[in-house]
């Protein structure tokens, strides 16, 4: 047996490698930099890494390769777009995360213990959040570009593990936060077991673990369909879990609520991009020729997801939970883009993911600002009259909500329109109609929040709006500007996407 040294094509992997390097340096910083400097060093390092990585992505934007990392990674237009989206969202998320007030001073300390109090007083910070974030981001970057099952699985775990951890690091309501971590972890592991099991059957079906090999078998149609179907079903469970589609959604409201808000925003936005990115790649390339088998099931799930998310969101009293259900509904809309299985669907999905991600980070960033003496106030009843107290914050939040609701002149509308038209084009009319109807239902609760903020008198209960730190302010402003700009003049981005978004196989 002759061993040939692998050729990795590091240029194409460089965005991910940069992130990993940054994360490793971050770990070293934890070990060697003094406490006082750690926070600022980590932040600078993280942002620097992300920007560098983004620049690298931009540099390789026209690369087309299936052979990077010995065929484990495919770099093509959608890959670039998704990676860039993830990085942009990661950067603004990090701006919000940088406001360390959200994280526990000492994760190991018992909630309410002297040790914790002391840690808070001494200004201790869990700066490990930064490298963890970078690890998660590199997992997210890898997830949608993976082109074999092993890399896919490793990337899935790589993006999940840091998130499980970070979900438990909230400064306040720590029991809830830890509970969120536990739930996220158990269910995540549970679903990844399904994912793995599905992978096994895909392997059994095609005798290959690469996407290309599986695709060949699907196209050839010579294999054993039962294995393929089981494989598709179980792999889908894993992916649908990550995107929060019903009935695999149950973790998301609890985790969104319990996790530190900046993490929630980051997770809601970036994970969705990564997971949908992977999903798009798998369904558009690997399973495309087996559309007959998965399309009806996925349509059913999309429909249930949209309706469930919209209906349950109506009944929510907590802003984070409401946004969680809203994100479930959006997962349903995005599934319509997967079902579409055409070029328009791909373009639309990428646009939607980016637009939704930016708005989500912005919205959660605003949630971090509304506080009382005990921390963030997420009870919607206490958001009453926010418009009176701080009109700009309320107006910005309203802007995000309108974008979620898909009101014209916001990015949400263009996204919804493009994704529905793509789905309609592919014949999924039922999904489109349900989508439109559930948008109407969804509008109901977005508007309810706007009513609360603007048309209800404030209650004097100590709820106030924190003056945002500069970084948070930048994140919010960036988000709202992008949200509006993409609603008013999305042409450049759409053109960019459509020119680039072609999967190579």
């Amino acid at each position: 047996m002759v061993f040939t040294a692998p050729v990795l094509n590091y240029t194409l992997l460089s965005p991910i490698l940069i992130l990993l390097a940054g994360a490793l340096i971050g770990v070293l910083v934890e070990a060697f930099v003094s406490k006082a400097l750690r926070s600022i060093t980590q932040l600078t390092l993280t942002i620097g890494t992300l920007v560098l990585s983004l620049a690298q992505v931009w540099k390789i934007r026209n690369a087309q390769s299936t052979t990077a990392a010995m065929g484990s990674v495919v770099i093509d237009g959608p890959a670039i777009l998704l990676q860039a989206s993830i990085l942009i969202i990661a950067i603004i998320s990090v701006f919000v995360i940088a406001d360390t007030d959200h994280f526990t001073a000492l994760a190991a300390a018992l909630p309410g213990s002297d040790e914790e109090r002391h840690a808070v007083q001494t200004g201790n910070q869990v700066t490990e959040v930064y490298p963890l974030t970078l690890f998660a981001i590199s997992g997210m970057m890898l997830f949608p570009v993976s082109s074999d099952l092993i890399t896919l699985f490793v990337a899935l775990e790589m993006l999940s593990l840091p998130l499980y951890l970070m979900a438990g690091l909230s400064r306040r309501r720590r029991l809830a936060s830890q509970e969120a971590a536990l739930k996220y972890f158990l269910l995540g592991a549970f679903s990844s077991a399904f994912f793995l099991f599905g992978m096994a059957y895909l392997y059994g079906y095609s005798a290959s673990v690469t996407f290309a090999g599986i695709r060949e078998s699907v196209v050839g149609g010579s294999g054993n369909d039962v294995l393929l179907l089981i494989g598709i079903a179980f792999v889908s469970i894993g992916l649908l879990f990550k995107v929060g589609a019903v009935p695999f959604h149950a973790w998301s409201p609890d985790v969104y609520q319990g996790a530190p808000t900046p993490i929630t925003g980051f997770m809601a936005a970036a994970t969705k991009i990564a997971a949908f990115g992977a999903m798009l790649r798998i369904y558009y390339t690997v399973f495309a020729n087996a559309q007959w088998s998965w399309s009806p099931l996925l349509s059913a799930i999309a429909v249930i997801t949209m309706l469930f998310g919209s209906f349950v969101a109506i009944a929510q009293r907590d802003v984070k939970r409401m946004l969680a259900y809203s994100s479930i509904a959006h997962a349903g809309f995005l599934l319509a883009g997967v079902i579409a299985l055409n070029k328009a669907g791909l373009d639309a999905s990428i646009f939607y993911l980016f637009a939704y991600g930016v708005a989500t980070v912005g919205a959660f960033a605003i949630v971090t600002l509304v506080r009382d003496s005990a921390g963030e106030v997420t009870d919607l009843n206490r958001w009453k009259g926010l418009g009176k107290r701080s009109p700009w914050v309320a107006a910005t939040f309203a802007g995000f909500l309108l974008a979620f609701a898909g009101i014209p002149l916001t990015s949400g509308f263009i996204g919804k329109f493009s994704i529905f038209s793509a789905a309609y084009e592919s014949g999924a009319k039922g999904v489109v109609i349900v989508g439109v109807l559930s948008s109407a239902i969804a509008a109901f609760f977005y508007i309810r929040v706007i009513v609360l903020m603007f048309f209800t008198d404030p209650v004097q209960d100590g709820t106030s709006v924190e003056i945002p730190s500069e970084l948070t302010r930048i994140a919010i402003i960036f988000s709202i500007v992008v949200t509006i700009a993409l609603g008013v003049y999305p042409a450049p981005l759409l053109d960019f996407i459509t020119n680039l978004a072609i999967f190579i196989r």
Binding site: F3, L20, V27, E30, M70, V73, A108, T151, M158, L165
Partner: protein
């Protein structure tokens, strides 16, 4: 070649025997995991299942995996589980009565449905008849074959996994590691504090816990000469855990014999 074809299609008789003996045992152990009350018993059964799987791996031409399974999984991972079980309380036992209404019937129905459907589907799939057999792939040695793949085709995920390991380590650190936020007081400092403090009452050291003859243990405050309990004699963390017994039970004359001694 005929022989090879036969081998490929049908597992050899010794393997069949192994399977039919071990598989039911494995299943039983797995089921046992669900049915036993104590978590530690579950863990033991789990270890059994893992070892059994390792044997199956070896039987199926994956000796490397079989070994790794035993070393890494059974050896390391299960040990970790047991460690944690010890930490959480090795005695703790689960009540098996279901508290969430309707969950058990759902679970059982789902399980039967899931397993039944899966097995039935596999039955329809008629797999394994045209099996190729691992022998050819293992021709240069199982470990060599795997190494070949691992360090060429799958070198990227292999490298990336390292990041995963670091993440895990970092995560465990974050959650479990107590930073030394303040200087640990030296003996000297403690001594100075004791004597320079407001009161000299504790200058000679804190009273020792326990009530002689009745309950000489650290979870009972000592009785002062006047018969009242001395709270300072018990460790603060025991108090925080709520594990302190009331020393009045052990006062002479008022011995409450109904309190069962813990073994």
């Amino acid at each position: 070649m005929n022989e090879l074809a036969l081998q490929v299609g049908q597992t050899a008789a010794p393997e069949a025997m192994l399977f039919w003996i071990l598989a039911p045992l494995t299943l039983a152990a797995a089921l046992g995991m669900l049915l036993v009350k104590k978590a530690v018993h579950s863990a033991i059964l789990m270890a059994f299942v893992m070892v059994a799987l390792a044997i199956f791996y070896i039987a199926q031409g994956a000796p490397f995996l079989g070994i790794v399974q035993i070393v890494v999984y059974t050896g390391a991972v299960m040990m970790l589980f047991l460690f944690i079980l010890m930490l959480v309380g090795v005695d703790s036992s689960d009540s098996l009565t279901e508290t969430i209404r309707g969950l058990r019937p759902i679970a059982i129905t789902a399980a039967v449905g899931f397993g039944g459907l899966l097995v039935s589907l596999l039955g329809r799939a008629s797999i394994g008849r045209g099996a190729v057999g691992i022998e050819a792939a293992n021709s240069e040695g199982n470990v060599e074959g795997i190494a070949q793949l691992l360090f060429s085709t799958f070198v990227w995920p292999f490298e990336v996994v390292s990041a995963l390991l670091i993440t895990a380590a970092l995560g465990a650190m974050v959650l479990a590691h107590h930073h030394r936020i303040q200087e640990r007081p030296t003996q000297r400092q403690l001594s100075i504090d004791r004597f320079r403090g407001d009161s000299l009452a504790t200058a000679a050291g804190l009273p020792a816990p326990g009530v002689f003859a009745r309950h000489n243990a650290v979870d009972v405050p000592a009785l002062l000469p006047d018969g009242s309990p001395a709270p300072a004699s018990v460790n603060a963390s025991l108090k925080a855990r709520g594990d302190v017994l009331d020393s009045s039970h052990f006062e002479l004359g008022t011995v409450d014999t109904s309190v069962e001694e813990e073994k």
